[in-house]
């Protein structure tokens, strides 16, 4: 087993991995940029090294600097978390070359899965079901038109190197095709430095369901059940759950066996996720494989009772999987809310800044994986994910009740968060009925904000405002009331300002 691991990431996932290491008696090395000196992962780690300025391209994406820290600190392995360098085959290879174990799949497996067209070509050979379309990049508008006629409109254009909805276009008819192809190609070039775009039949309002797999370095591969990830905004997941409300044991076994086949076709090792699109008839199609630990891995951990980060580290150190497929069972239900620093009242604008007050939920069936703390200044330079709140229960209704209760206890001031959005989702009739697809959240948001069910009288707020003013005058509520003792006087300030003119 490793004695020391470097975590090449920040935020909640760095904290998550550091916790696993501490549990396993492994010491940890954290890295940070200029704006992350005060971040939580630095407080939790055993060692910490500065790697550059705020922009990720000059810090968390700098392979040379991270490998240099690994060498200097004597770390034997690197956990990449998600995002940043986690799916970078060059980095995985550079680790091997430096004699440091990369906790994840090999560069070869990543390469095969990194390009969506290459992945499709391999999966076609392995007999994996995928959405009808091309397995190769389009060379001309004529070719696109031909394929579109074959599979039938509407069709979807997608960037081979894509993700997050970039370089993606829904095309309803032949008339729109050539201009959509051009704009998808130029967006793909701008976003990924690769203009390759392919075409597939558009599945309207599909579900997005993914299967967790785990493979050791001795040829054993298992699946750990699915996650329903259909609730998305701008192609970013917002809420995930396990199991999916529509997957029964039979469908789970079928999807799981396909996922294992996908992983084996790529000689996959460590933790990975096979994503599927599922249509209204419950047909499932291979979409892509994510060659890393997913943000939403906790819902799988809660429903299988396994610790995926422990297992990732054990696999990377050469251990065999300690269980067989038949030992894995799904128990209970788990739902994860991604708490983002964004303003629900202002079109979900990002909202970095200082957290002035933080009240955090706990209690039965609640797990909180957080990278924030009161007094911390959320930097503007990275992804807005602050924390993940996960509710677990005997069944789906109980998991929902517990999450609603926990969200009631959760309070973040100073910055805006999307906590109120989850209250809306969890109360929504379609959500409760499990009627989900990737268009669900846009439809919910278009409905407008419902009246709060909880009828609080405004007089309570009026009384509280006065009580705050008299009980906590140091942080004065009054904009223009009497000056509290010790606070700077407006007269004095004005006088000083005048004197300095």
């Amino acid at each position: 087993m490793f004695k020391k691991i470097l975590i090449a990431n920040r935020g909640e996932i760095a904290v998550r991995v550091i916790r696993a290491c501490r549990e396993m008696g492994i010491s940890t090395v954290a890295v940070y940029s200029d704006v992350d000196r005060a971040s939580l992962h630095i407080r939790k780690a055993d060692e910490a090294y500065h790697i550059g300025p705020a922009p990720a391209a000059e810090s968390y994406l700098r392979m040379d600097k991270i490998l240099d820290v690994a060498r200097r600190s004597g770390a034997e392995a690197i956990h990449p978390g998600y995002g940043f360098l986690s799916e970078n085959a060059k980095f995985a290879q550079a680790c091997v070359d430096a004699g440091i174990k990369f906790i994840g799949p090999t560069a070869q497996s990543m390469d095969m899965m990194g390009s969506k067209t290459r992945a499709r070509q391999h999966m076609e050979k392995a007999g994996i079901p995928f959405v009808p379309g091309t397995a190769r990049g389009l060379t001309s508008a004529e070719e696109a038109e031909k394929v579109a006629e074959q599979v039938g409109y509407p069709v979807m254009l997608k960037a081979a190197a894509g993700g997050g909805g970039k370089g993606m276009r829904l095309v309803h008819s032949r008339a729109e095709l050539s201009s959509a192809l051009e704009s998808a190609q130029s967006e793909a070039q701008r976003s990924f430095g690769d203009s390759e775009v392919y075409i597939e039949k558009a599945i309207i309002n599909p579900r997005h369901i993914e299967m967790q797999v785990l493979a050791d370095e001795h040829g054993n591969t298992v699946y750990l059940g699915e996650r329903e990830c259909s609730i998305q905004r701008r192609h970013q997941k917002v809420l995930e759950e396990a199991p999916s409300p529509i997957v029964d044991p039979d469908m789970r076994r079928q999807m799981g066996e396909v996922a294992v086949k996908v992983a084996q076709a790529a000689n996959y090792t460590n933790a990975g996720t096979v994503e599927f699109l599922v249509d209204q008839q419950k047909n499932f199609y291979f979409l892509e494989m994510n060659t890393r630990l997913q943000v939403e891995h906790p819902v799988t951990e809660l429903t299988t009772g396994l610790d995926l980060v422990h297992l990732q580290i054990r696999i990377a150190s050469g251990e065999k999987l300690p269980f067989a497929q038949s030992d894995i069972g799904i128990r209970g239900h788990a739902i994860e809310c991604r708490i983002y620093a964004e303003d629900p009242d202002n079109n979900y604008f990002p909202s970095p800044g200082k957290i002035t007050l933080l009240l955090s939920p706990s209690g039965p069936g609640i797990r909180r994986d957080s990278g924030m703390y009161e007094g911390w200044n959320v930097p503007m330079d990275y992804d807005p994910l602050l924390a993940k709140l996960i509710g677990y229960g005997t069944d789906r209704p109980q998991a929902i009740m517990r999450l609603e209760r926990a969200l009631y206890e959760y309070f973040v001031a100073g910055i805006k968060t999307n906590i109120s959005l989850f209250r809306r989702i969890l109360r929504d009739a379609d959500f409760r009925a499990g009627k989900l697809d990737t268009g669900y959240l846009d439809r919910l948001l278009a409905k407008g904000i419902p009246e709060s069910e909880e009828a609080v009288e405004p007089r309570i707020a009026a009384i509280a405002a006065g009580m705050f003013a008299v009980l906590d005058p140091a942080s004065s509520v009054t904009k223009d009331g009497p000056t509290p003792p010790g606070a700077p006087s407006n007269w004095k300030q004005k006088g000083r300002a005048e004197a300095l003119r």
């Binding site: 620093a341 964004e342 303003d343 202002n346 604008f349 990002p350 909202s351 970095p352 800044g353 002035t356 007050l357 009240l359 503007m380 330079d381 990275y382 992804d383 807005p384 969200l407 009631y408 309070f411 001031a413 100073g414 109120s420 209250r423 709060s452 909880e454 609080v456 405004p458 007089r459 309570i460 707020a461 009026a462 009384i463 509280a464 405002a465 006065g466 009580m467 705050f468 003013a469 008299v470 009980l471 906590d472 942080s475 509520v477 009054t478 904009k479 223009d480 009331g481 009497p482």
Partner: protein, 165 residues
């Protein structure tokens, strides 16, 4: 203490008086039994007619919000004896309006030039934060009198980006 409290746009008169170690509370002329404990900074525990409430306070540079449970109320608190309260602070559409950065970020580009005529809701400046680009819009129809930032500049929440008159 006497306060004019505006909750969600509706004015209330609140009178608080300390007698025998307890607070006497009169809201809009009605006596109310209130037991209040400041649990910590910005968190108040209230008991009113046997009902318990946890109230959280969020104060920003420009606004005050109180959260009773998970319900949020915009609140303004004024001391009626204060001069500035009586002058009123409500902004109207007349006169120059400052366009403020709603969050810290980096100015990506300017969408208009000084002296340009703009409509209400028209984009003035694009600010990037957390990998997202956000258009900061004009609050009113008018002329862009001044642009006080440049492309590439780092801005803090509340910084003036432009003035529209």
């Amino acid at each position: 203490m006497v306060y004019d409290v505006i909750v969600s746009g509706k004015p209330h008169r609140l009178e608080l008086e300390r007698t025998d170690g307890a607070w006497r509370c009169r809201l809009d002329g009605k006596d109310i039994q209130v037991d209040a404990v400041l649990a910590r900074r910005d968190v108040l525990s209230l008991i009113i007619d046997g009902h318990a409430y946890e109230v959280k306070r969020e104060q920003t540079a420009t606004d005050l919000h109180l959260w009773v449970g998970s319900t949020r109320f915009p609140v303004e608190l004024h001391d009626p004896r204060s001069l500035r309260s009586r002058q009123g602070s409500a902004q109207d559409d007349k006169g120059p309006r400052k366009i403020l950065a709603p969050m810290p970020g980096r100015v990506v580009r300017l969408l208009v030039a000084e002296q340009a005529e703009v409509e209400a809701g028209q984009g003035i400046v694009v600010v990037e934060a957390m990998k997202m680009q956000n258009e900061i819009k004009s609050p009113k129809k008018g002329i862009v009198k001044k642009i006080t930032t440049t492309a590439g500049a780092a801005v803090n929440a509340g910084d003036v980006l432009a003035i529209v008159e």
